[in-house]
């Protein structure tokens, strides 16, 4: 299971008013509106490379979820989209 890291080219500024977040990346000049989960995933990966499993475990623990399969699926989809956007990429593992 790969760990995902944030594209080092990104220069992010976040604004948040309790609902969706808005984030601006100075490198690409793009502005995005993220829902809560996407923002949470992006914020966690921005701090340190993470696998989707580890994110799921963390969020599930916080939420007290016993069977977080749906959550894992959702996080996988978020990461997929962030990958397509160029925001995250799999960390190359040393062999």
């Amino acid at each position: 299971m790969p760990e995902w890291q944030l594209n080092p080219l990104l220069r992010l500024t976040w604004r948040d008013w309790g609902g969706d977040s808005v984030v601006f990346d100075a490198t690409s000049g793009q502005t995005h509106q993220f829902d809560r989960l996407t923002a949470a995933v992006a914020a966690c990966i921005a701090e340190a490379p993470r696998s989707t499993r580890s994110l799921c475990d963390q969020f599930a623990a916080e939420a007290g979820l016993e069977h977080p399969e749906q959550l894992l699926q959702a996080i996988d989809q978020v990461v997929d989209r962030l990958h397509l956007l160029g925001w995250v990429r799999p960390l190359a593992t040393a062999s």
């Binding site: 944030l6 000049g29 793009q30 509106q33 809560r36 939420a63 989809q77």
Partner: protein
């Protein structure tokens, strides 16, 4: 109405101009038309001349600089995306022209605006590369969207690709000369000398002498002289910078012979000498003269000078062009989760705990 020498005189002058308000209006208008507003802005800031510029035109020079800075930021992202798209294709990727100057951090990048990114791949992998780009979100633009004349004039091998989300335009080449040009250069020979733009990076740029020759050959595109002055300024900046390398000039002259680009080079050197007083090592004088012994490039000179300040041809609408309509410039992307979350409020809590900071 037109005052052709206002700008061209400026570039070579060691003194700041003392222009009336009216002359400033004309200079700004011409710079805008020839896509040189950013260059004009940097020209003044780099020399510490901005305090001498009246407030209103200074603001417009500032907006020119803004455009160049924004574009340069975004080029790095665009190149990152291109590299990612081509990660599975076994080909060198050579970045050309303006994007290359930015990538390699050359002085020629300063104030340089460009509407497309040009890259060169190996001829054998051209179709594979295009397919990979199409898969990564670039699309072929419908032919009708172009100014037909413009497209035919350029006659690219492949029509430019436009990214569906970012709106940026990419031109894919396998060499630096157009199929219809009377000067033909094999891409293979350029690839042989291409260098990494950054140590250890995959993206390449042309060798210094090839970069100059590319810009030189651009000047000589059949009938395409809209960007004459801008191209000359590019060549000047490149040459002045590369001249600091001891063997640059001999290499440039030898390579021009090798690639049969003596005439375009001679033409460019004559223009550079006339407009900006550019010189080369005196021991190479006879070699330079030998580039074009019959002075074939002569008649083009007059055309170039008059065309130099002709209105810039409107390019197809790209993310970096000054669109003349009520355009939406925001590229935003709303990612919405398809799955209803069971405990959204607890996720919010998780998010708050890791409160994102400005990175």
């Amino acid at each position: 109405m037109t005052h052709p020498d206002l700008l061209s005189r400026l570039w070579a002058s060691p003194q700041p101009p003392s222009w009336t308000h009216r002359q400033w209006e004309i200079a700004v208008g011409q710079a805008r038309r020839t896509r040189l507003l950013a260059r004009l802005g940097f020209h003044f800031t780099d020399r510490g001349w901005m305090p001498l510029v009246p407030a209103r035109p200074a603001a417009y020079l500032g907006t020119g600089i803004l455009a160049a800075e924004r574009q340069h930021r975004e080029v790095h992202w665009e190149l990152d995306r291109i590299e990612a798209a081509l990660s599975g294709i076994d080909t060198p990727i050579v970045v050309l022209k303006g994007a290359a100057y930015v990538l390699a951090g050359l002085p020629a990048a300063r104030g340089r605006l460009f509407s497309d990114i040009d890259i060169m791949v190996s001829r054998e992998r051209l179709n594979e590369a295009e397919n990979a780009l199409l898969a990564a979100g670039w699309a072929q633009q419908p032919h009708d969207d172009y100014d037909d004349q413009y497209y035919r004039r350029w006659s690219h091998e492949l029509p430019p690709l436009k990214h569906v989300q970012r709106g940026t335009v990419l031109d894919l080449h396998h060499t630096i000369t157009q199929p219809t040009s009377r000067f033909q250069v094999e891409g293979r020979r350029l690839l042989e000398r291409a260098l990494p733009a950054r140590p250890g990076g995959r993206l390449l740029v042309l060798a210094p002498e090839d970069m100059v020759l590319h810009s030189v050959v651009h000047l000589m595109q059949e009938g395409e002289l809209d960007t004459g002055l801008r191209d000359l300024l590019d060549i000047r900046d490149l040459v002045v910078d590369f001249s600091r390398q001891a063997d640059f000039w001999p290499k440039l002259l030898d390579r021009a012979s090798e690639l049969r680009l003596q005439i375009p080079l001679s033409h460019a050197l004559v223009q550079l000498h006339r407009l900006f007083g550019l010189t080369w090592p005196t021991e190479l004088d006879s070699q330079v003269a030998q580039l074009d012994p019959r002075r074939v490039g002569g008649p083009l000179m007059a055309r170039l000078l008059t065309a130099a300040l002709r209105p810039h041809h409107p390019t197809c609408d790209t993310a970096w062009s000054d669109a003349a309509r009520l355009a939406l410039y925001v590229r935003s992307h709303y990612l919405r989760m398809p799955v209803r979350l069971v405990v959204p409020h607890l996720i919010r809590k998780a998010f708050r705990r890791l409160k994102p900071k400005t990175s």
